[in-house]
Symmetry: C2
Subunit: 336 residues, 2 copies
């Protein structure tokens, strides 16, 4: 049995989802000859550590009851640096101002020769090449399937399942909140404000929805696709971004009369006519990108396999944990 | 640079597509630190071999001009057994009566400790567990992405990109010919016979279309999914199969009036209510499986990632070669 030693840094919905997945999948992983042991969990309040593995159930319970997993004097950085382990699972929240604290956590993890699996878009949207170089310099893996498309496996699809293909462009709906709002406005003829209120009540939109509805989240995901799949060297500032806040029920209705929908599309294209932008676009109703509700979808144009379309749930803690787990398993299979 | 030594057995459209892909992708592969060298190519007429690699362009030209690549006394089995190499690419045609000659070729390859990458469904639909056991016994890989869904990367998606998930069911349109025929009948109100004739003229259907239209091809693909993803131990005879030959324009039109399409759906499900069947089904027009033309689509239900839908081109020599190349690269990355 290969024993893979982890830490989980950031213990909100995603971090807890990872802990739950590790508990649920113990037998499944044993069938793949992999045992995952979590040697430390850190959150804003501190950390809990255990040389034989922390009790994940107790940590989840403690988080719920007292708001932190902390039972020791360790800080998150202490866990990353001082505990001898293999993979740091960074599940800290996305911050696109300076990428912290995730950026520092990931860099320190690499410097201590630990692989990193993350769901945090911020550091990748701002400092991808710095992170990539640090990982390579230290001979460790840097995987981040969970940053784009939630459970929709777009990065590993492009890198592994479509290996050998040149990916020429990717277009997609990469933000479930925007897709939900536009879908409901189209179906019900309601205004942006009305549907936003409904989405906030349902927990589909945040109290401050600007990160989603202004297209920022989609832009961060595009940057990650551009850098990791197309080998570009771009940051969030390079993306041409328009959100959905100006879209009216009238424009949706006019589009509908022509058999079209309006969708917030992120597009990245390589080569001479390189492009990286987020913009509401007309999409024919029978087009592969004409996907409704909170779903995400991506259309990859490739040189050999032709167009490949994938869709799935773009968010959710268990879905994001699923993407993180697939990355952990990939490292476990290759490095151990 | 890792040098991976191949043979290509079977040199029709798929085998030639693989040779072309290896030529085209030389630089791309070098960027991944992989060099592919083909030490032998075999077809019905014999084989050509070369200790430093055969000239792929010349082999394609010879095949076109004289109908065979043969320039030596080697038989296909001689190539597999006697030439020291790493991966046998079996691109022999599918035969679901006894799986030959692919079955013997693959078994001999395994016995000589060579990995096998294949596009040939026959041996897998009939003798999956025998092949799997022989590969495992000899410590080599057995990969067959190209057998299901052409360029649509369903097997590697399920095994790698969705690793950690339990796949609970797969439903899909896995035969482009049937999908083309049903799509055209629906759109044009034409009879099965009329559209079949058109599809035959376009090269979308074979002169003897029974393998496709009777659902046999879809059933073979389901068997491969059932065995390799669900760990079942089934063969072609275990599949409950109904084809599309009895479908009338009237039934399609009645379905259409209710907002439905009729599609030939392959379905495999695990657990207590296990099922493996191919049957024409009503599919709502806005359902993920409502995909038209020659496209293939698959809907995977998973325990963590939720439903994941993938679609792409189900056939074509370059698309199939793409799937074979992704398997070769996966072996190259892992074993060398």
């Amino acid at each position: 049995m290969k024993t893979v030693r982890l830490s989980i840094v950031g213990f909100g919905a995603v971090g807890q989802g990872v802990a739950r997945a590790i508990l649920q999948k113990k037998d499944y992983l044993a069938g793949m000859d992999i045992e995952l042991v979590v040697l430390g969990i850190a959150d804003r309040g501190g950390a809990c550590v255990g040389p034989d593995g922390v009790d994940l159930k107790a940590a989840i319970k403690r988080k719920k009851e007292i708001g932190s997993v902390a039972t020791s004097d360790f800080t998150p950085l202490d866990v990353i640096k001082d505990i001898d382990h293999d993979i740091v699972v960074d599940a800290t929240p996305t911050n696109i101002d300076d990428g912290e604290p995730g950026l520092t956590f990931m860099l320190e993890a690499f410097r201590h020769r630990r692989h990193v699996v993350t769901s945090n878009k911020g550091p990748l949207a701002l400092k991808y090449s710095m992170l990539y170089d640090e990982a390579r310099k230290n001979g460790v893996q840097f995987r981040f399937e969970a940053t784009v498309g939630g459970a929709m496996p777009i990065l590993n699809l492009a890198h592994d399942a479509l290996a050998g293909n040149r990916i020429m462009s990717i277009e997609g709906i990469l933000n479930g909140t925007c897709n939900y709002i536009l879908s409901r406005m189209t179906e019900e003829g309601l205004s942006y404000e009305q549907v936003l209120g409904e989405a906030q009540e349902l927990g589909i939109a945040e109290t401050d929805p600007s990160y989603d509805v202004e297209g920022i989240d989609t832009a961060c995901k595009l940057v990650i696709l551009a850098n990791s799949i197309f080998g570009m060297d771009v940051t969030y500032d390079d993306v041409d971004v328009t959100g959905i806040t100006k879209i009216t029920p009238e424009s949706l209705s006019l589009a509908g009369a022509e058999g079209m929908l309006i969708k917030l599309i992120g597009e990245v294209r390589d080569g001479e006519d390189a492009i990286i932008k987020v913009v509401p676009k007309l999409v024919p109703k029978n087009h592969p990108l004409a996907v409704s509700g909170t779903l995400n979808v991506a259309l990859l144009r490739t040189d050999m396999a032709g167009p490949i379309c994938v869709k799935g749930r773009g968010a959710g803690s268990i879905e994001t944990a699923s993407a993180i787990l697939s990355d952990i398993i990939a490292i476990g299979k290759k490095e151990f």
